[in-house]
């Protein structure tokens, strides 16, 4: 009897005999939402934690008077140290490490942007498919390299090579650190730029070829401009990676807090300072609070960079390919 009814109905109208399948959808949705909320909550808690540990710099009157007047202090002469957190008369100037971060990041980006963008253009627009299938994963593999290995490589190989090349007095400096850091930014910029370039519709390229354009003209006039927002996002994310890098600069940049625009003197970055000093700082001390203040800087800066990358790209790409006039 039941069989007869089933047979008389179209399959689409038959009742599911597997109720689990019905609920799986809802369960999956709940699980995914929970995971997302959990991840967000963790980020938020980290944020609260960093701010909490840094807040005394602003809200404890005694610490504030100690820190704020020296926070952006410049050295009076070449030999004056402006970061002396554990001396009797402590100074907490972030200038040497801000400059250090700026220098290594500049060097890193100066190297990483042209290399990775050109490599991306080559693989996306010119390379035969088999080359692309080898080059892309190979460069992406570089992103998975432990930074301690890159730092060590810089310390041993790049430092010696660069000293012979530049004749610098110091083996370890912002250039050596920056070169090593560029190795972490290159795979990020390359991957994102390559994806952006490959995502440019083939039809547009055909239209360009159809008008008699060469491969170069098509790559530079059509593909590159269309992929520009994605490439820009890749550069921003690479930048975020470069200035957040700690271990490499700790190993390869020389770790001296010198306020100088000379790229060939030893350099210590914001991240390296936290990395080097957090282990020995007295818990709850002013020094401790200031290290967390540096953390706040880093956090805010990376949030800004990532948001620009995210929103700029989403906005621009949407406009480009969906056709808001």
């Amino acid at each position: 009897m039941a069989e007869a009814i089933i047979e008389s109905m179209p399959l689409s109208r038959q009742v599911r005999t597997n109720p689990a399948a019905k609920n799986a959808d809802a369960a999956a949705r709940v699980a995914i939402t929970a995971v997302a909320v959990f991840a967000l909550a963790i980020i938020f808690l980290i944020l609260i934690f960093i701010f909490k540990e840094a807040k005394d710099v602003f809200f404890d009157a005694k610490k504030r008077d100690q820190v704020l007047p020296t926070l952006f202090m410049m050295p009076a002469n070449e030999n004056q140290a402006v970061w002396t957190p554990i001396s009797k008369n402590p100074k907490y100037s972030l200038m040497p490490m801000l400059l250090g971060t700026l220098k290594t990041t500049l060097v890193a980006m100066f190297i990483a942007i042209p290399i990775s963008v050109l490599a991306a253009i080559y693989t996306a627009c010119f390379a035969p498919r088999w080359v692309r299938e080898i080059v892309k994963p190979a460069i992406e593999l570089l992103a998975g390299f432990p930074s301690v290995v890159l730092g060590f490589f810089a310390l041993i190989a790049i430092a010696g090579f660069m000293q012979r090349l530049t004749g610098a007095d110091y083996r370890l400096n912002a250039i050596v650190g920056g070169i090593a850091v560029s190795l972490t930014a290159i795979p990020i910029i390359f991957t994102i730029a390559e994806d952006a370039l490959s995502a440019v519709p083939k039809a547009m390229q055909e239209a360009s070829y159809g008008l008699g354009a060469t491969e170069w003209e098509t790559a530079f006039y059509i593909v590159l401009p269309a992929a520009y927002p994605g490439i820009f996002a890749g550069i921003l994310l690479g930048l975020g990676r470069a200035f957040g890098e700690t271990l490499i600069v700790l190993l390869a940049a020389g770790n001296a807090l010198i306020v100088s625009w000379d790229f060939l003197v030893p350099t210590k970055t914001l991240t390296a300072t936290i990395g080097a000093e957090m282990g020995e700082v007295v818990y709850g001390d002013t020094h401790y609070n200031v290290l967390f203040l540096i953390g706040v800087f880093l956090f805010v800066f990376s949030v800004i960079i990532n948001s620009i990358a995210e929103f700029y790209v989403k906005g621009r790409l949407m406009k480009k390919f969906s056709g808001a006039a």
């Binding site: 039809a203 547009m204 055909e206």
Partner: protein, 287 residues
């Protein structure tokens, strides 16, 4: 006859001998002899392979100057392939090889000495899906001129306006030439693409189902456009729409399974086709 005489075609020979000699002449870039003067395109026993798969099994046909040729046939029969073989556009993204020849004004487009970019400038293409660049309307039209180079701003302005007028879209876009072309409707985009192809004054325009993504009004506009372009251009149009083929073309080619079944005056193809297959197809018995 000794080989060296074979490779020196003489003007006194008949057209027939002339062609058979030309088939054996490897590189020939001279001007076509008088007998072929109005044949702008000659396809000679063209075989076309995607990898090892043969898509065209030896097609021979010709297209005369200022003629509109329609190509019809069931899906997958090789219409697009034939079209793309003329301006060699498929090879930019796919692994293909060819046997046979296509002569454009007497020059073999598959001659190794052929400058492909030059060839593609002489043969404009309008694709099935409108594919404007994500640039302004103006830049879309001016792109081909930029590729050629050496135009003054004023000349470019004039050509942009002229091309957009020819493509019957000027009135709709003249106030927003600096706006992104992707903001146009599908029909407008397709007319923009036609204008883009016209800007560089190609000798031949290939259209691969240019109306398949369009509404009837846009289709009508493009069909009218084809009529207007006819005195100046030679057009080959692929279409799935029999009425369209009948309306716009002088001659119609019916293809099936990579072969050219019948190629004749459009009026003849649609009234008394010589081949049973053609008749079955146009009367809708298969396809």
């Amino acid at each position: 006859m000794p080989a060296n005489t074979m490779s020196q075609p003489s003007k006194t020979q008949s057209g027939q001998t002339e062609r058979s000699i030309r088939l054996q002449t490897e590189t020939r870039t001279g001007i076509a002899p008088a007998a072929d003067a109005q044949k702008i395109i000659e396809i000679l026993d063209l075989k076309y392979f995607y990898g090892n798969v043969r898509a065209l099994h030896g097609i021979s046909m010709d297209v005369k100057k200022n003629e509109v040729v329609a190509m019809i046939g069931p899906s997958g029969c090789g219409k697009s392939t034939l079209l793309k073989s003329i301006n060699r556009i498929a090879e930019v993204s796919t692994d293909v090889h060819t046997e046979g020849k296509i002569l454009l004004g007497g020059e073999n487009v598959y001659d190794p000495a052929m400058d492909i970019t030059e060839l593609r400038r002489r043969i404009g293409m309008v694709f099935q899906k409108p594919n404007p660049f994500p640039k302004s309307i103006y830049e879309n039209i001016a792109y081909g001129l930029k590729i050629i180079g050496g135009f003054a701003k004023k000349q470019v302005d004039e050509i942009v306006e002229r091309s957009l007028k020819q493509a019957a879209i000027w009135d709709e876009v003249k106030d927003r030439l600096d706006k992104n072309a992707l903001g146009l409707s599908g029909g407008q985009q397709q007319r923009l693409c036609i204008a883009r192809a016209l800007a560089t004054e190609p000798e031949v325009i290939l259209m691969d189902e240019p109306c398949s993504a369009l509404d009837p009004i846009s289709t009508q506009k493009i069909e009218n456009l084809i009529d207007e372009l006819k005195p100046k251009y030679t057009i080959i149009i692929v279409t799935h729409n029999m009425q369209q083929a009948a309306r716009v073309s002088d001659r119609t080619a019916f293809m099936m399974l990579g072969k050219l079944v019948e190629f004749d005056a459009t009026s003849k193809i649609f009234t008394k086709p010589a081949d049973k297959l053609t008749e079955d197809y146009i009367t809708g018995r298969f396809g």
